[in-house]
């Protein structure tokens, strides 16, 4: 498969000259309406008012997903790093049509870029983005001319990164940063009682939603602030030029927590208030803001080991090797394929009888914001078996 240009793909997919022209279908209109029906206002209009750029989601390859499978990628619960590296390299070449893996990476990054790798360690070491895959990404970035000191491994909570194995010992030369952080004594606050995290948020950029929660003294450091604003991490707004998104293949109820959720809930503060009333909206709307929309160049779903039930937390009995990577620049399309894989596993394991339309509501909403393609029939899905 040769996918050498965005225009070429768009022609193939019959999407017209720009994915920006993708119009809401009736299903999308329903999704928008249902969000509005809940009556909770947000500042999504502010996000949409920012002009799109060449780099905006869905990036270079809208509606395209490469799925690499290798039945030997995980053996006895241990990831074969060499195979994972090969799966990534092959996926990159397949996605881009580039003659070699370095050329493939250079479609997305250039020397001089500051690259943020958004991993997901929230479920602990049992169900984190695997250090093996992250090492593979870093090695291929280095081969493309990105020095290690231009790479930042980041997420919400710095200590969770450490717990999941993302330490300076394991990743020498790579900066490891979390918005929420503690000092060497284990305190979230400095001598004046100020949260260290406050220095790692950017109040110029925020997601506002007309709902709020209050947090006690112990919870506030995990949320950074109360009120109706969720501020973007300055890691996103100031410390990186481009983001490579590395979620894990896992369920969240009958839906999934993949690219969109990893970005939305990983990049802003004060998220607890958003989970129940605005989960789908948050997943679709936060990535509409330019710090994410215009910086996320690539999504690599770590499906080497994932889960099909009990997620997004780690419930070991539902964790299994999927032996897969999903790669694409379009986070919505990647999530849609990921959802179908998780749904298939849930049905195989008899957790679920049939796909749940509600599970893809956030993707339809994201498509209405032109972040990518949610309709599985319009996604160009390439499967590679490297077993």
């Amino acid at each position: 498969m040769a996918l050498t240009s965005r225009r070429g793909f768009l022609k193939k997919a019959g999407l017209g000259t720009a994915v920006a022209a993708t119009l809401p279908t009736p299903a999308l209109s329903t999704a928008i309406r249902s969000a509005a029906d809940d009556g909770i206002a947000t500042n999504i209009a502010d996000a949409l008012a920012h002009p799109r750029t060449e780099a905006s989601m869905p990036g270079l390859y809208p509606g395209t997903v490469v799925e690499a499978y290798d039945a030997q990628a995980v053996q006895d619960g241990v990831i074969d790093e060499e195979r994972a590296t090969a799966m990534l390299a092959r996926s990159m070449r397949e996605l881009t049509g580039a003659p070699d893996v370095t050329q493939a990476w250079l479609r997305f990054v250039q020397p001089g870029d500051r690259i943020g790798l958004k991993v997901n360690p929230v479920a602990g070491k049992l169900l984190s983005t695997s250090p093996s895959l992250v090492r593979a990404v870093i090695a291929q970035l280095e081969a493309a001319g990105i020095p290690r000191d231009s790479i930042v491994l980041w997420d919400r909570r710095e200590f969770q990164l450490h717990d999941a194995g993302f330490t300076t010992e394991e990743f020498p030369g790579i900066r490891i940063r979390g918005t929420e952080c503690k000092d060497s004594e284990g305190s979230f606050r400095d001598a004046n009682g100020r949260l260290y995290s406050e220095d790692r948020i950017d109040k110029e950029w925020y997601y506002w939603a007309d709902c709020e929660d209050s947090y006690d003294e112990e919870t506030l450091p995990y949320m950074v602030n109360e009120g109706k604003h969720s501020y973007f991490s300055s890691i996103v707004t100031k410390e990186v030029d481009k983001i490579i998104n590395l979620p894990i293949l896992k369920n969240a109820g009958s839906s999934v927590t993949l690219c969109m959720k990893n970005l939305a809930y990983g990049a802003v503060t004060n998220t607890a208030r958003l989970h129940k009333p605005l989960w789908a909206e948050t997943c679709a709307q936060v990535p509409c803001f330019p710090p994410l929309r215009d910086k996320v160049v690539l999504n690599i779903v770590d499906g080497l080991i994932g889960c099909y039930h009990g997620g997004p937390g780690a419930n070991p009995q539902f964790i299994l090797p999927y032996h897969r990577l999903l790669v694409g620049s379009d986070p919505v399309a990647v999530d849609r394929i990921g959802l179908s894989i998780v749904e298939a596993m849930r049905m195989e394991k008899k957790v679920q009888d049939k796909p749940s339309p509600r599970a893809r509501g956030f993707l339809e909403l994201a498509e209405s914001y032109e972040l990518g393609v949610a309709d599985i029939n319009r996604i160009h899905h390439t499967r590679i078996d490297l077993s």
Binding site: V122, Y222, Q317, R358
Partner: protein, 278 residues
Amino acid sequence: MKYLLPLFLLIHSAVAFAGGPLVISRDLPGWTIEDPDFYNAKQLYGYINGGAELYLEYGFRNVTAQRCSKADHELQVDVYEMRSDEAAFGMFSILRGSCTGTVPGATWSCVRPEQILFARGKYLVSVVPYDRHRDTRDAAMRAAKALLARAGKTDFRPNELFRTGPLSPGLQTMKYLHGPLALQSALASWDDRFAGIERFAMEYSRFGKGKKETEAAIIRFRSRRDAERFLRQSGVPGALKAKGWFVGGDGTSALVKGGKTVYFLAGGRAKNLRTRIK
């Protein structure tokens, strides 16, 4: 005798922390047991982040987390105190999966190489051995047994029909679902039936194989209107006015008691079961 009460209080305080039972050093000789971390409902997002809502929907009080280690071996012990026995069982029923064994003495338990899970009273206990070494697995079981002994003696008691009645074949796979997130997580195919209904409590089981596969549920709704909506959305709207079982076109059947409790049957054995459930 006068020393017994202080002694009891001392021991009790050593093994119970903010209400939840703890693993103590005598449970795991030679292991290092770290001080427990404690999270209440407000703090749960700090501990399990995106997984918190389901616990909160069921009625979560607090979780006590302990890490136990010995050389390279490690255990994670989490004791969730829920609002009620039903809530603890409800979470257990969603999380248990298929099991290779049980915890001796526990009514509701599930043992797998990756995790020991049980519900006792209002506590849901998870013990995760981080490796498959025999010492670690043995320690995990010892910790589970110790916590079981400290977690009280009450257990969730399902409806009699599931315990000893005609629905008892479904007892071991029975789920207790309480609210939309639980439904989404464990029974998404019933989503349409519950559209617009926020609060309910359901004992549900699917049992039997092939043509005999049967779904059975006992659902308590908050209002007659919710029950009516469920029946309408399940294709058995006539059940609300029927004097006995109402059978829909596809064999789905419902029986309403007190206007707000619905007995529901579908599948291969529904006809037979209807004659035994009045």
